[in-house]
Amino acid sequence: MRALAIRVVTQIRNDRRSMAMLIVAPVFVLTLIFFLLADSDYVPKILVDEDGVPAPLVQAIYEQDAAVEACPAEALGEPEKYLRGHPDVDLIVTAPKLSQETDGQGIDGNGMISSVVDVQGAGSQTAGGQSAPGETGGGEGLDFYMLESNVKSRDAISAISDAQVSLNPSSEVRTHTVYGSADDSTFDSLGYIFPGVFTFFFVFIISGMTLVRERSGGTLERLMMTPIRRFEVIMGYSMGIGVFAAIQAVVIVCYTIYVLRLESLGSVALIILAMMLLAFTAVSFGALVSIFATTEFQIVQFIPVVVVPQVFFSGIIPLETIPYGLGNLCYIMPMYYGCRAMKEIAVYGYGLQDIWPYLVALVCYALALGVLNTLALRKYRVV
């Protein structure tokens, strides 16, 4: 068994591509994601209808951290058309025109590119604005026009609410979060998921490919024609690839926390433990899938089926919002347990006494897969 583990280690070490896949690739992708999701210092571009919108509000909007300009006449006349021609404009703020429908439905009918958010109907997006119209909009509210609802237009809308709040401080809403802070970047709030996802992904590929290569190359049959026991084969494999899975877990966690500066309230060692268990599960998962594949390419074909769905259950989407109780599928997905454990350690600051059920679930998962894999080796040798 040890011989097998040592061989797998040597084999992977001698194969530069596998090494790169295990260590360099996740670090690279994580860095990329860090920059993609980091807080940007983007300055939204806002056009204000200076004649329609009450003067004090206009004044306040100009004071916000945004590129504010007076709204040209053509934009006032046909804001949707103007936005199509000027994609750099994030938001046009006007007073409602009596001649035009201002209720949500009428404007939806204008097509998919443009939508209008009425301040009074904007709900949580402009929570600060809801009590504001009384003072600032003369009871008529404001019309927002934007090309599409995205991070940039939301930035612009929050600039407007800030302006309204500055006129009417009593309407200010202060956000208090139990965990993290309200102005966390996306990376801050989801960052703990990505290390888990990538560890699983890359370890799965390496494990599946190593084994499928061995199956198709005939070395597995040859290996089985020595007096080694079936469970020793599976254990040896898991240990060999597990060494790299463990190294990868340490590298990724340390990189995320110490280089990308993702904050962790809990113990880093515990996060590493959770990651390692997730990685070990990925080893067994890859081994299991390799049974159904005859070439390395087929391992890749399995990724959309067995890895991608797990990513969605890893915590990127709040599971309670998934309809028909499909969110409960998470309980059959190892990635859920791993990522959930990491979230609770890193974001909630929980310790081993709180998260142990997740770790136990991962261990059970890996063991169950190990048993399945051992049984599957009967194909090569019934004893």
């Binding site: 040592i6 992977i12 020595t226 007096p227 004893v383």
Partner: protein, 243 residues
């Protein structure tokens, strides 16, 4: 350890590959399995190992019925394709297979030297196998099968792609193993290798059409070439079909 096959049949799906094969291989014999491509030579070897389960019939090594785990420690198997690890050096491959057979460290070192010398790979021992030539891989695969000094060797085309000089050396080594009481089963396409063997089994259409001492078999031919027996078998079949 004598090997006994009793009415062994095997089919893949509905295609019968071996039909009621019975034969006995006595300890210390070198047996040659001859037959056209696809006649079931590799299948027969894998059945003897226990890598495949027979549909019916039984195979025994001495008193032990195949498949049997401890028995595998006494068998050296060389598959037809070079089942060696390309991401490892030649020596690392041998070390690995040696450890699987639980050869003690000191002895293993000695054995590795011996099999490397025999297969003429001593100079290339530290090269990664992916940089080996086809014949070198074949030799390494053979070396791995001989490593643990098994009582029975099941070698699937061990000398394909090996030059005549080295081939002679390898056959002499087989002879030497035989002198020490080892049984060897070899499949081959090279008819002149039959001369090195004690007995030959001719597989044709899933059946053993001839099995016996090589000189006996040669007596049945007109020009002293073993192929004639196959020509006869195939023409016999054609006559059957046409009549």
């Amino acid at each position: 350890m004598d090997i006994r096959l009793k009415e062994v049949s095997k089919s893949f799906g509905k295609v019968p590959v071996l039909k009621n094969v019975s034969m006995e291989i006595r300890q210390g014999d070198i047996i040659c399995l001859l037959g056209p491509s696809g006649s079931g030579k590799s299948t027969l070897i894998r059945l003897m190992l226990g890598a495949l389960a027979a549909d019916s019939g039984e195979i025994r090594f001495g008193d032990t019925r195949v498949p049997n785990l401890p028995l595998l420690g006494n068998v050296g198997y060389m598959p037809q394709n070079d089942a060696v690890y390309t991401d490892l050096s030649g020596e690392a491959n041998l070390t690995f297979f040696g450890r699987l057979h639980s050869i003690p460290r000191a002895l293993l070192k000695e054995r590795i030297e011996a099999v490397l010398e025999m297969t003429d790979l001593t100079c290339d021992r530290n090269k990664l196998v992916r940089d080996y030539s086809g014949g070198m891989k074949k030799r390494l695969s053979l070396a791995a099968a001989l490593l643990h000094e098994p009582e029975v060797l099941l070698l699937d085309e061990p000398t394909v792609g090996i030059d005549p000089v080295l081939r002679k050396k390898i056959w002499e080594a087989f002879r030497e193993l035989q002198a020490r009481g080892k049984s060897i089963v070899v499949t081959t396409h090279v008819m002149d290798e039959v001369a090195w063997c004690d007995k030959a089994a001719l597989l044709y259409g899933g059946e053993v059409i001839e099995y016996g001492a090589v000189d006996e078999l040669l007596k049945k031919t007109e020009q002293g070439r073993i192929e004639e027996l196959f020509f006869r078998a195939s023409s016999g079949e054609r006559e059957e079909v046409s009549s």
